[in-house]
């Protein structure tokens, strides 16, 4: 027995307590520093320390329930949650999350659940990392004023497409009118990703709400947290019920580290320039993506694996 190690009953692994707290702290710090949930970094980091990918993804969703709940209630009290938008996103999220859990179940039986998780990570992290890097590098360069005005005034393909959809609804708090199919479909997509990747989906939902739905920033954060919380509650329950992959002890240790790290990160972020932070985050995202891609491309340490593992 060693008091510096904790036995994770569902993962079936014994991990150093400070390693779990440290991982939570680092991811929480980055999340506080950059304003993202951190789930998309935590799941691959857990895989790297030997937690089976499906357990890492499910337990991370459980950890996000804790991490997003305090922020969501704070925003709720301030009136920053667009409940109508949030509920539609959540309905989509529940449909997507439930579908994602069933997809994982089928893939797990076929033996390729972890491969799909890794590939999804490589794709999503590449898109986000490259986009963020381009965006922040562009913002660091001085731009002529007329370019940005012209860009803001032109209608995007997404806006034109959404106007053609039926059931247009006015969302009072966000001050926008769009078809309910837009948030519903986005909710489904984020729900699927949430189940497959073990993420809350905030890193996808926030840019979508800002750039595509054109919602005001203060409502975006509160509504995104509401959606993330509800989606992760659904995913945690489904993963526990169908796949038995939620490691409650793992989630608790991560939560302690991540909440503390988030507070430290939030304080430091005020002293740094936003675009410099984005460049650093983009590099971190791309490095994690590269590590996962190499795992898929380089010969593995062992050619055999137990069912349910990578």
């Amino acid at each position: 027995m060693s008091y510096f190690y904790v036995y994770l009953p569902i993962a079936g692994a014994s991990v150093h307590i400070f390693l779990l707290l440290g991982l939570g702290l680092i991811v929480g710090f980055l999340s506080g520093l950059f304003g993202v949930g951190g789930g998309f970094l935590l799941t691959p980091l857990l895989m790297m320390i030997g937690i089976p990918p499906t357990v890492a993804a499910a337990s991370d969703a459980n950890q996000i329930v804790a991490a997003s709940s305090s922020g969501m209630f704070a925003h709720w009290r301030l009136g920053n949650v667009d409940l109508k938008m949030g509920v539609i996103l959540v309905i989509g999220g529940i449909i997507g999350g439930t579908t994602g859990v069933q997809i994982i179940r089928v893939l797990k039986a076929a033996g390729n659940a972890d491969f799909v998780t890794k590939v999804t990570y490589v794709i999503m992290l590449s898109i986000i990392g490259i986009y963020m890097l381009q965006e922040s590098l562009r913002n660091l360069k001085p731009r002529p004023l007329h370019d940005s005005i012209a860009k803001r005034d032109s209608k995007s393909w997404f806006a034109r497409c959404s106007e053609s959809l039926p059931l247009a609804t006015h969302f009072e708090k966000s001050g926008i009118t769009i078809s309910i199919f837009i948030p519903l479909i986005l909710g489904v997509l984020v729900g699927i990703l949430s189940a497959v990747m073990g993420v809350g989906g905030g890193f996808i939902m926030v840019p979508v709400m800002v750039y595509m739905l054109r919602m005001p920033m203060h409502v975006v954060v509160g509504t995104s947290l509401f959606q993330v919380l509800c989606t992760c509650i659904n995913v945690t329950f489904m993963q526990a019920y169908y796949n038995h992959t939620v490691d409650f002890i793992l989630a608790l240790f991560l939560l302690v580290g991540s909440t503390a790290g988030a507070q430290i990160g939030a304080k430091i972020s005020n002293r740094l320039k936003a675009d410099h932070l984005k460049v650093i985050l983009a590099v971190i995202v791309l490095l994690v993506m590269l590590k996962i891609a190499l795992e898929l491309l380089l010969p593995p340490g062992t050619l055999l694996s137990y069912q349910g593992e990578s």
Binding site: Y5, A66, G111, F237, Y241, T259, L297, T302
Partner: protein, 255 residues
């Protein structure tokens, strides 16, 4: 020969053989394993088994911690379009799920390969014992791949050491430590004990230990498998309460 005579002869032979074993038992040894029950609790990080015995002046000793021999189905990776992914299933038969061996010297110096194979001692005997079938043609490297997998988390290990020290009564004190890795699943395990003299097996004995989940670990694994819905709800409830509490604590601290 009538059935009555046959039974009488059988009883006589049985008595003679038991007397022979008792005579061999004159070179008796007491074989102690501690602990006999390994508890997998919240802070479990594997365990060390202490094995001690007082034995006569024999050449060599071998101790094996062995799990049950079950059929196991594994995923097998292969390269498809430059990417490594699971491409088939490999079914493994007669493989102990744990095999941890300690010896007082190199196995090749203890007994002949035939004797070691017959007793199931060492890596080469496992190679002959374990069988494989697959949905794809077998490559012939299955045993080495299987050994890599089992060795990667320490559940197959043949490098343990046994110390034999001369004692004052003319015998030897045997001591060994077997490391049980954290990945060893709960269950009952056999400890097989062999003593050799001049290449021949002279004594063998068996003991049993168990690995059991206890406390919180047992409660959570039972709940997760038997009442998955309750486990899911508990995980959500605790996360919600913990998240809100941490938020309240930090906001009051920042004030």
């Amino acid at each position: 020969m009538t059935p009555g005579y046959r039974i009488a002869w059988f009883c006589l032979l049985a008595w003679i053989s038991s007397a022979a074993v008792a005579s061999a038992g004159d070179d008796s040894f007491s074989f102690k394993v501690a602990p006999e029950r390994v508890q997998i609790g919240t802070f479990y990080h594997g365990s060390e088994l202490e094995i001690t015995a007082q034995i006569p002046q024999y050449d060599a000793a071998v101790i094996i911690l062995k799990g049950t021999e079950d059929k196991v189905i594994l995923n097998r990776k292969g390269k498809v379009a430059s990417i490594w992914l699971n491409v088939g299933k490999l079914t493994v038969y007669d493989a102990p799920h744990v095999y941890i061996l300690a010896a007082s010297c190199r196995l090749a110096n203890i007994a002949s390969a035939e004797t070691l194979d017959r007793l199931g001692i060492g890596r080469e005997s496992l190679r002959k014992q374990i069988k494989f079938t697959s949905d794809k043609p077998l490559s012939g490297n299955e045993f080495d791949e299987f050994l890599d997998l089992k060795s990667s988390n320490g559940v197959y290990d043949t490098t343990g050491q046994i110390d034999l020290l001369a004692s004052s009564d003319g015998g030897q004190n045997l001591s060994a430590q077997l490391s049980i890795p954290p990945a060893t699943p709960p269950g009952n395990y056999k400890i097989l004990f062999y003593l050799f003299n001049q290449g021949e097996l002279v004594r063998q004995d068996t003991a049993q230990i168990s690995l059991e989940r206890t406390g919180l670990v047992r409660m959570l694994t039972d709940l997760s498998s038997q009442s998955a819905a309750a486990y899911g709800l508990l995980a959500i409830l605790v996360a919600l309460v913990a998240g809100i509490m941490v938020g309240v604590i930090f906001s009051s601290l920042s004030r």
